[in-house]
Amino acid sequence: MAFHKVNVTINGEMEQVVVPSNMTLMRMLREILAFTGTKNGCSAGECGACTVLLNGEPVNSCMVLAVECDGTEIITVEGLAGDKQLDPIQEAMIQEGGVQCGFCTPGILISSYALLKRNPNPSEDEIREALVGNLCRCTGYVRIIESVKEAAKRS
C-alpha cells in the first residue's frame, strides 16, 4: 500500500505527515499527531464525536481520508480556545452544564462553533438541526442546546 505525504495546517500550525491510503483524518489526528481530543465513537459517520473543521466546514473525520487533506486547514477541539481564553461556546457549556461524560463534547463543540459562525443567532430548531449528527447519551441535549443559545448571546 502506498504512502502519501500530506501537508496540513492544524489549529494554525503547519504539519507534514506521511500516511497510508487507508488512514482516515480521524486516525491521523489521533494516532500520528496526538490530537486525541477528537473521539472515535462509531467510525461510520453516525455519532459525530470525531467532528472537526476541514477548511472551516464540519466533517466527520472518520469519513475523510487523511490523504485528501493535503493543503487543507483543520481545526480540532484543541484549537478552539485562545491562549488563555476559552471560546464562548466552551464558556457557555460550563455555565449551562452542557458536559457530562465529555466524550461527545469535542464534536458537539465543533458543530456548535460552526453553526454560530454561519448563523450567529440560531433559533432553537436550527440548533437542534445543526446538532442532529452529534449523538449524546448523557445529557438528553437539553443543556447543550441551552449552551449554544448562551454562546450566541456572548459572541
Binding site: T36, E46, E78, V99, I127, V132, C138, Y141, V142, R143
Partner: protein, 782 residues
C-alpha cells in the same frame, strides 16, 4: 445549619479539561511499543466450533501473536461469578454459567469471541483476523423466551436439563385470598424487549505488564476499577499491589461497563503478560452492539385484583427474564423488577414468580434502570386498564393507592438486589405527584385544552406516571480526604466516574466541611493506586454511598483541623469557623490560620508529638448503608400524535424528583435529562432486533436509533426533598430515575391521545411503525 456549598448550582470542576480535549480516555493512552488487538467473532448465535486454523494469521507480517482457547491452556477459565443469588431467599434455583474468554467448544451468542490477534497495529490485527480459518457448524438457536423453556428446546448449555437459569418465588400476604374478594381482576400478558446502553464511548482496555518492575497497569473503561484489580490479581497470580487499574475519564457507563470480566478485560492483560508488551484493544461500534451487555427482555403474565373503588388488593406476576447466553450478574435484574412491580403503591398481597432463561443472545446485565422500568411498566399499565374498566380517573386511582406518608419506613418485604427485604426508608409521595400535576396543568389541560384541540382534529394526550427507584445500595464505599500543605484538599475514592460530575459534587461535600473553595478540592476516582477498597459506580449509588464516605472522612478531618487550630489560635473549638481556606475565630476573623499552614504543622519534621498522634490532616472513612434508600418521582407529558404517520411530538415534559438532599441541582437535572432521553429511546425509538436465529439485525447507529437533538423535548424539572434517614447527607440516588417511568408514561399518553380507538398497549418498546401495526390489529378486531 444553612449550607454553603451543598445544594448549590456549582459549575463543574472537570469541565475545562473535557472542553479542551485534555481529558484522558482509555483510547487516548499511548505507550511506546504498544501492540493492538482485534477479535475474531462468530456471526452465528449458536454453533459448534469444529476447527480453527490460525497459522496464516500468525505468518502475516506485523502479527505478534494469535490466541485461541486452546492456546490459553490452564489459564482458560470462565469469568468469576459476579453476583450470587440472595442467600436470604428461599428455594432458589440458580445455575451459574459464566462467560468464557474465548470459545472452546461452542458459540453461544453472535459476537462471541473465538480468537484474538495481537499485532503491531490495529490495521494489521484486523487484516489478520480475516486470515483465520474457522469451521463452525451452525446449531438451532434459542431466541424466543417462551420457546426456550419448551420441552425439546435446543440447549444453550448442554450440561443443563433445560434452559432454565434460575427460578425464584417471592410472596407477601395471600394473593389468592385477595383475589377471591376482588371486584375486578385484570389479567394480561405484557412484554418488554431489549435495547442497548449505547454509551458514546465503546469499551476499551490498555494493559501494560512491565517485566522489570513486575507490575501490571491497566486502563479500563470500567465502572468498577477496584473489583477489576482484585479479580485480575487473583486470576493472573499476582498480588493486588502488583496491579493498578485506572478507569480514567469514561465516556458513559449506563451499567454495561459495570459488568465484570468481559472476556477482553481478562484476555488483554493476560496477553500483555505473555508477551511482555503493552496492548491496546478498543471495541468498535459493531462489536459494542454484539458483545457489550444489554437488557430489558421479559414476558409477564400478570394479574391485578382490585376492589370496586380502585384499591389494589393484590398483584400476581409470573414472568420470564432473558439473561442471554450466560448469567454472571445473577438475579440482580429480576430482583429489581420484583421490587418495583408494586411501584409506589401500598399492596398487601403479592406473588411473583420469575424464571430466568438462557438464550443464544448477548449477555444481559443491568442497563440504566436495571429491571425497574419493567416493574413500573407492568403496574402502571395495569392501573391504566383498571382505571378505564372501573371508570375512575387515572390520577385518582393512583392517589388512592399511594403509600401514605405515615407508613414510612415502609416494610416492602420483597428482597431486592441488596439481598434483604426492601424497606422504603422515607417518602411523601402525593405532594410530589401533585407538584407534577400542577406543573403540567393537568386539570386545565384535561378540562379545557384537550377538548378544544380534539375538536380541531388533533390527537393530543397526557400521561402522568409515578414511580419509585431503589438506590444507594451497599455494601460500602470509602474515601480518604487529605488537606495538603498548599491548602488544597485531595480526595481519593474507589468508585469510577462516567460523567456524573463526581469531581464537583464530591468536592462540594468536602468544601461544606472544610470551608475551602470547591475548585480547591481535587478528586481522584477510579485509580486503584489512590484508594484500595470499594465496589463501583452502579445502582444510583455514587453520590449516596461514596458521597457519604467522603462526608464522613471530611468530618473527621474537620475535627482534626479544629483540634489543632484550637491549640494554635488558643481559642476553644466552638468559637472557630472554617471559611475561605482558613480557620478563624468567629468574632475576630483576623485571628486565623490557613489550612495549608495547619497541614504543615500537623506533619512536623523534628521534635516530638503526643502519643497516639496521627500525622497530617487526613482521614479515611467508609460508609455502608443498612439498606438502600428509595427515591420517588413523577413524570408527566403531553404529546401530539400525527395520525397519518404515528410520529409523536412531545409538547411538554415534566419531572418532579424526590431524591432526598440535593447536592447540586445543575448536575442532578443533567442526570434526569439524560435518563429521560434514554427512556424516550427505550419507549419509542430503540429496539434490538434479533431474528429467530439469534442474529442481531441492527448493529449500527444507522439501524439502531438513539434519540438525537431533534427528538428531545425541553424538560422542566421540579424538586421535592424528603431526606433519607439512612445517611448523614440525607441523599438518595437519582442516576437511573429519569429512565424508569418513561415507557409506562408513553403508553399512557398514547392511549390518551388516541381516545377514539380501543387501543391497549401491552408492550415496550414501541415505534411509529409498531403503533401503526397495533392500530391495524385493533381495527381488525373490532
Amino acid at each position: 445549619m444553612t449550607k454553603k456549598f451543598i445544594g448549590k448550582r456549582v459549575k463543574r470542576n472537570e469541565d475545562p479539561r473535557l472542553l479542551t480535549g485534555q481529558a484522558l480516555f482509555v483510547d487516548d493512552v499511548e505507550i511506546p511499543g504498544m501492540l493492538h488487538a482485534a477479535f475474531l467473532r462468530s456471526d452465528y448465535a449458536h454453533a459448534r466450533l469444529l476447527s480453527i486454523d490460525v497459522s496464516a494469521a500468525r505468518q502475516r507480517p506485523g502479527v505478534v501473536a494469535v490466541f485461541t482457547a486452546e492456546d490459553m491452556g490452564e489459564d482458560w477459565q470462565p469469568g468469576p461469578p459476579l453476583v450470587s443469588p440472595p442467600p436470604t431467599a428461599k428455594d432458589v434455583i440458580f445455575h451459574s454459567r459464566r462467560q468464557v474468554p474465548l470459545v472452546k467448544d461452542k458459540v453461544r451468542h453472535a459476537g462471541e469471541a473465538i480468537a484474538v490477534v495481537i499485532a503491531e497495529s490495529r490495521y494489521i490485527a484486523e487484516d489478520a483476523v480475516e486470515d483465520i480459518l474457522v469451521e463452525l457448524e451452525p446449531l438451532e438457536a434459542v431466541s424466543d423466551l417462551e420457546k426456550s423453556l419448551q420441552e425439546g428446546s435446543t440447549l444453550v448449555h448442554d450440561d443443563l436439563e433445560s434452559n432454565l437459569a434460575a427460578h425464584l418465588i417471592q410472596k407477601k400476604g395471600d394473593y389468592e385470598a385477595a383475589r377471591e374478594k376482588a371486584d375486578l381482576v385484570i389479567t394480561r400478558r405484557i412484554v418488554t424487549d431489549r435495547g442497548a446502553a449505547a454509551a458514546m464511548e465503546n469499551r476499551g482496555i490498555v494493559a501494560h505488564w512491565d517485566e522489570k518492575s513486575q507490575h501490571l497497569t491497566v486502563w479500563d473503561t470500567t465502572q468498577a476499577p477496584i473489583p477489576i484489580r482484585n479479580g485480575l490479581a487473583a486470576r493472573l497470580g499476582l498480588s493486588a499491589n502488583q496491579v493498578r487499574v485506572i478507569a480514567p475519564f469514561v465516556g458513559g457507563g449506563f451499567g454495561p461497563k459495570m459488568m465484570m470480566f468481559y472476556p477482553e478485560e481478562m484476555l488483554i492483560p493476560w496477553a500483555s503478560m505473555k508477551l511482555s508488551r503493552p496492548i491496546k484493544w478498543i471495541e468498535d461500534r459493531r462489536e459494542n452492539f454484539y458483545a457489550t451487555t444489554q437488557e430489558r427482555g421479559q414476558n409477564h403474565d400478570v394479574e391485578l385484583a382490585l376492589s370496586r373503588d380502585g384499591h389494589i388488593l393484590g398483584l400476581k406476576d409470573v414472568f420470564l427474564h432473558d439473561t442471554g447466553a450466560y448469567d454472571p450478574y445473577g438475579l440482580t435484574i429480576p430482583l429489581n423488577t420484583q421490587c418495583h412491580l408494586m411501584g409506589p403503591y401500598d399492596i398487601e398481597n403479592f406473588t411473583s414468580e420469575v424464571s430466568v432463561v438462557f438464550t443464544n443472545k448477548t449477555l444481559v446485565t443491568p442497563v440504566r434502570g436495571a429491571g425497574r422500568p419493567q416493574g413500573i411498566f407492568i403496574i402502571e399499565r395495569l392501573l391504566d386498564i383498571a382505571a378505564k374498566e372501573l371508570g375512575i380517573d387515572q390520577v385518582e386511582i393512583r392517589k388512592r393507592n399511594l403509600i401514605p406518608p405515615e407508613a414510612f419506613p415502609y416494610e416492602h418485604k420483597i428482597i431486592d438486589q441488596a439481598f434483604a427485604p426492601l424497606v422504603l426508608d422515607s417518602g411523601n409521595y402525593w405532594p410530589v405527584m401533585k407538584k407534577a400535576l400542577d406543573m403540567i396543568g393537568y386539570d386545565q389541560f384535561v378540562k379545557e385544552e384537550q377538548p378544544r384541540l380534539r375538536a380541531e382534529g388533533k390527537y393530543v394526550g397526557i400521561g402522568i406516571t409515578p414511580f419509585i427507584e431503589s438506590t444507594g445500595v451497599g455494601p460500602y464505599e470509602g474515601a480518604r480526604v487529605t488537606v495538603e500543605a498548599s491548602g488544597k484538599v485531595f480526595v481519593a475514592t474507589g468508585v469510577g466516574t462516567q460523567g456524573q460530575g463526581h469531581f464537583t459534587t464530591f468536592a462540594q461535600i468536602v468544601a461544606e466541611q472544610l470551608g475551602v473553595a470547591v475548585s480547591d478540592v481535587r478528586i481522584v476516582t477510579g485509580d486503584t493506586t489512590e484508594f484500595h477498597w470499594g465496589t463501583g459506580t452502579f445502582a444510583s449509588r455514587g453520590a449516596v454511598v461514596a458521597g457519604n464516605a467522603i462526608h464522613a472522612s471530611a468530618s473527621i478531618v474537620r475535627q482534626k483541623v479544629l483540634k489543632l487550630a484550637c491549640k494554635i489560635l488558643e481559642t476553644p473549638e466552638e468559637e472557630l469557623e472554617l471559611e475561605c481556606g482558613l480557620v478563624r475565630v468567629a468574632d475576630t476573623p483576623h485571628k486565623s490560620i490557613s489550612l495549608g499552614e495547619l497541614a504543615l504543622l500537623a506533619n512536623p519534621l523534628r521534635g516530638a508529638v503526643e502519643p497516639g498522634t496521627e500525622p497530617g490532616l487526613e482521614a479515611t472513612a467508609y460508609f455502608g448503608p443498612q439498606y438502600g434508600a428509595t427515591a420517588f418521582g413523577t413524570h408527566a407529558m403531553i404529546i401530539e400524535i400525527d395520525p397519518e404517520t404515528m410520529m409523536i411530538a412531545i409538547k411538554r415534559y415534566i419531572t418532579v424528583e424526590d431524591c432526598g438532599t440535593v447536592l447540586n441541582p445543575l448536575i442532578l437535572e443533567g442526570q434526569i435529562h439524560g435518563g429521560v432521553s434514554m427512556g424516550i429511546g427505550n419507549a419509542y425509538y430503540e429496539k434490538l432486533h434479533f431474528d429467530e436465529n439469534g442474529q442481531l439485525l441492527n448493529a449500527s447507529f444507522a439501524d439502531y436509533l438513539i434519540p438525537s437533538a431533534t427528538e428531545m423535548p425541553r424538560i422542566e424539572v421540579g424538586h421535592v426533598e424528603t431526606t433519607s434517614p439512612l445517611n448523614e447527607l440525607g441523599t438518595k440516588g437519582v442516576g437511573e430515575a429519569g429512565t424508569i417511568p418513561v415507557p409506562a408514561l408513553f403508553s399512557q399518553a398514547i392511549e390518551n391521545a388516541l381516545y377514539n380507538r380501543e387501543l391497549e398497549i401491552l408492550e415496550t418498546p414501541l415505534s411509529p411503525n409498531r403503533l401503526f401495526e397495533l392500530l391495524v390489529n385493533e381495527e381488525k378486531s373490532r
